[in-house]
């Protein structure tokens, strides 16, 4: 075997942070190479160095691609050589069609005039290669995230890709879409395309990876060869966090009290297509000290339910009743909901969670500014100590509380969002995909925090697409499908198969 890529002694610093310290990475021709590590370990940074986002000169070390030393000045340079990166935040233009997106900047044209029939023909070929059954004319905004991800890959394939880099491609996909994506990677491997896969989902990694490089605190810890020996998830975790994690979930002794949070006959309609009912007459309750999970497929309406409950942040013609400790409460605005003690931590941290231009310190107190102020005057000292407190409690890896959140790694951004809601002092906390993009160690910490909140008598609702997570941390699980709650079970009686079969039976047409 020959190496298609060798990165030697890569060092990259940001003001106040040593993101990469003498990192080596070798990818063999035609393999799937997994890159794993805790949040902020430097995975994304390493890939940005490789793809020319950080041009030659901004880092130390050498990059050899197909045996030649490369000094990429920008992304176009690396793409020309066949290195294509798909960032976690998809970069498609929503209002353009699939075909237009695929050939954006690379148009099929003669003398500046676009050859549409050629464009559509090539697009159809590419879509066949990624097994996506959509018309090339469909606008990207009409596609779910899983399909958009496939369009990104089709776009990469349109450019003679030799090395495909995927940064957490499955973090917002459901299991079915994730599986399709992994199958595609294996398929591409058969056709000679090497890939680097970054993921926090270790089961996926052990499923498809040929070799695994583990980064910790910006340094290479080990490279595991899955073909030579059997690598278990625990082996990976040990290298990632530097100790073995015997359990994925903290022990939980539920101490469940009276019903704290009740939702009755809750309905909401689509904000634009106001005849489409997105949340259909939902009833549920959460007791004090209870962790309730909501299972369902992507698009089942779980986020929409949560956001409509949280100050009518989503939807139109919302009806129904919310009760807190038996009393009806007004949740008609976010402010009122927070005041009543109902908080919602979003799944989409960049769009809805953070003011990215502001520091950790600016973001943490945002939902509870009263807590850091006397009257309307902000107490700087109080503000600073609150930020420091959450930074250490959540182990947010950063150069300090003054670091802008835009410069935090994905997982650490998620922790800032959670900090904000913890500081708001919720009675009822709705967590939407709380561990998306978070490493195993930090997940454990977040589960522990959930447990602590529950132990303090709060009501917790967790929306998650990771079934094992729901089974591991909830006391009770509701199943949602196509806007309606179709089942409920205590966790002792729940299993992945049971939930899935419930969804498939009810849904009829599998999503």
């Amino acid at each position: 075997m020959t190496a298609i890529l060798e990165m030697k002694g890569i060092t990259k610093t940001f003001p106040g942070v040593n993101a990469l310290d003498n990192v080596n990475l070798t990818v063999e021709q035609g393999e799937i190479h997994a890159l794993v590590g805790e949040n902020g370990a430097g995975k994304s940074t390493l890939m940005k160095v490789l793809s020319g986002v950080y041009p030659h000169g901004e880092y130390e070390g050498q990059i050899f691609f197909e045996g030649e030393e490369k000094r990429f000045g920008n992304i176009a340079d690396s793409e020309r050589d066949g290195i294509i990166i798909i960032h976690q935040e998809l970069a498609l233009v929503p209002l353009l069609s699939i075909a237009e997106n695929i050939f954006l900047g690379n148009e099929r044209a003669g003398r500046g005039i676009i050859d549409w029939s050629e464009t559509y023909r090539r697009t159809e070929e590419l879509l066949k290669r990624v097994s996506l059954k959509e018309s090339p004319r469909t606008r990207v905004t009409h596609l779910g995230l899983g399909k958009q991800q496939l369009v990104e890959i089709a776009k990469a394939l349109s450019k003679e890709v030799k090395l495909l880099i995927l940064d957490e491609p499955t973090s917002s996909l459901n299991e079915k879409d994730s599986q399709a994506l992994l199958d595609l990677l294996v398929d591409l491997k058969g056709k000679g395309v090497s890939s680097i896969l970054i993921s926090h989902k270790l089961n996926e990694i052990s499923q498809v990876a040929d070799r695994i490089t583990v980064l910790r605190d910006g340094a290479t810890v080990s490279t595991l060869d899955c073909q030579k020996q059997e690598i278990s998830e625990d082996d990976i975790v040990r290298d990632m966090v530097g100790r073995s994690l015997s359990d994925r979930f903290p022990p939980r002794q539920p101490n469940i009290g009276e019903p704290l949070f009740e939702v009755r006959n809750w309905s909401a309609f689509h904000p634009i297509h106001s005849d489409r009912q997105i949340v259909k007459n939902v009833n549920f309750h959460v007791r004090a000290g209870e962790v309730v999970g909501i299972a369902g497929l992507m698009g089942a309406g779980r986020t929409e339910l949560a956001m409509s409950l949280f100050g009518k942040s989503y939807g139109d013609k919302i009806s129904g009743e919310v009760r807190l400790r038996g009393k009806s409460v007004d949740v008609s605005s976010v402010h009122k909901a927070i005041k009543a003690g109902i908080c919602y931590a979003t799944e989409d941290r960049k769009t809805y969670g953070l003011v990215l231009d502001q520091s950790i310190r600016g973001n943490v107190p945002l939902a509870n500014l009263k807590g850091i102020a006397n009257g309307i005057v902000v107490d700087n000292h109080q503000e600073r100590s609150v930020a420091e407190q959450y930074r250490s409690r959540m182990s947010i890896k950063s150069s300090g509380i003054a670091q802008k959140t835009v410069n935090l790694s994905g997982g650490n951004q998620q922790k800032v969002v959670l900090s904000k809601w913890l500081y708001a002092g919720p009675e009822v906390l709705i967590l939407d995909e709380p561990t998306r993009g978070i490493d195993v160690g930090a997940k454990y910490e977040i589960y522990s925090i959930i447990n602590d909140l529950a132990a303090a008598g709060k009501a917790i609702v967790v929306i998650s697409s990771e079934m094992p997570e729901l089974l591991g941390i909830s006391d009770r699980i509701y199943v949602m499908n196509e806007g309606a709650f179709i089942g409920e079970m205590p966790v002792a009686e729940a299993s992945q198969e049971k939930i899935m079969s419930m969804i498939l039976k009810k849904g009829g047409k599998a999503a």
Partner: protein, 399 residues
């Protein structure tokens, strides 16, 4: 728990350099103002800082500064207000009609004018905040509407003169309680007092910071900045004191700058405005009433534009149909030169004021040098572009 291992690198680099790199913008603009002043001081052979000219400089720029403070809030909130020049002109005209044509006493007349200004801002803000009509469109419409309304009010003619008491707000000077001969002692004392207060406050803030950890600003910078600011204030007030003392409008400006700086930096309202400008969706999901804030920010802008209109009318001693023309451009340019971001969420009041004075010093200096208005426009345009390019360059380097 992992214990902040990432911090090691920080101490290895010289902290002063590090600090300068991250705070390039704030210091950069101050240095730019000083450099521009030094340049014109030489090229006008010392006329720039002559007491009489300095007084003039303050008077000439007061209305721009007043509006820049409001515009900063608007821009930080993620919007723009193109109507301020027209609103200012309209309110100036209204004040003239009230005082000169109807003979209303200047105090109630001025209050009416401020209320009308706030109401105009509120109406525009209403469409922007609650109907989500882009501020560019609403205020472009406002610009035309109030320009026309002003001409209707004035019937195409200039109206004046104003009562003397009213004129005093912009052409008067604070009284001297010490009856100094060649020196306006009250003014000088006021300058010294303000400088001392500022130094005192910043020492106290630093002490507090020290108690809770290492201050971010290196000691050298802290001392340098304080000495520089204090010396500049004392020197400039001294210069003004050798002429006729501090103009009344200077006091008005100082109060506005201090007040709005405080609101922007130290109050929850300020925090919310920055959050809304930085990411409206996230701010709303944090329980911040973005619509109401936007509405208030525009109402406030309208009131400050009205105040500027009064100051300007009082200074000219009449309301003319040309008043306020293209002032919105100067105001917006001042805010951007001062480091605010077009995307919202970034900018400081002091930056905007310094930006306004950069424009003002250039106008004044170039006029003294006899540079034609044509060249002046070109140079000002290039300075605006350069300032924003500098910003973007810095941002890219930091990322």
């Amino acid at each position: 728990m992992t214990d902040i291992p990432a911090q090691k690198a920080e101490t290895e680099r010289p902290p002063a350099l590090q600090f300068l790199r991250t705070h390039m913008r704030e210091y950069g603009i101050l240095f730019a103002l000083i450099a521009i002043m030094v340049f014109f001081q030489f090229s006008t052979e010392g006329i720039l800082l002559r007491p009489v000219n300095l007084t003039n400089l303050v008077l000439q720029n007061s209305y721009i500064v007043i509006m820049a403070v409001g515009m900063l809030m608007v821009i930080v909130c993620g919007h723009i207000d193109l109507s301020v020049g027209s609103v200012m002109g309209f309110v100036g005209a209204l004040s003239a009609v009230l005082m000169v044509n109807f003979g209303i006493h200047y105090i109630p007349a001025a209050i009416i004018c401020l209320i009308v200004g706030a109401a105009i801002g509120a109406i525009q803000g209403y469409w922007i905040a609650y109907w989500k009509i882009p501020s560019f469109i609403v205020t472009l419409a406002g610009m035309l509407v109030f320009k026309g309304s002003m001409m209707v009010l004035l019937k195409g003619q200039s109206v004046g003169p104003f009562p003397n008491e009213f004129r005093a707000i912009s052409s008067g000077f604070i009284p001297d309680f010490f009856a100094g001969e060649s020196l306006h002692i009250t003014s000088l004392l006021l300058g010294v007092a303000v400088a001392t207060l500022l130094v005192f406050l910043s020492i106290r803030a630093r002490q507090k910071e020290q108690k809770h950890g290492v201050p971010e600003e290196p000691f050298f910078f802290f001392v340098g900045r304080n000495i520089l600011v204090a010396a500049a204030i004392v020197y400039l007030t001294y210069l003004l004191a050798t002429a006729r003392g501090l103009p009344n409008v200077f006091i008005v400006m100082a109060i506005l700058i201090a007040g709005y700086s405080f609101i922007a930096k130290q109050t929850t309202i300020g925090r919310r405005i920055y959050a809304v400008g930085g990411n409206q969706k996230a701010a709303k999901l944090s329980g911040i009433n973005a619509e109401r804030l936007t509405f208030l920010v525009f109402a406030n802008m309208g009131m400050l534009a009205a105040l500027a209109g009064l100051v300007f009318a009082a200074r000219l001693n009449m309301a003319t149909p040309k008043a306020g023309e293209t002032f919105e451009l100067d105001v917006i340019a001042a805010v951007f030169i001062g480091g605010a971001s077009m995307a919202g969420g970034v900018g400081t009041v002091v930056g905007a004021v310094v930006g306004a004075f950069i424009m003002g010093v250039m106008n004044n200096g170039m006029s003294i040098m006899g540079i034609g208005i044509d060249w002046q426009q070109m140079i000002k345009g290039l300075v605006l572009l350069a300032a924003v390019i500098f910003d973007v360059y810095n941002k890219n380097k930091a990322a």
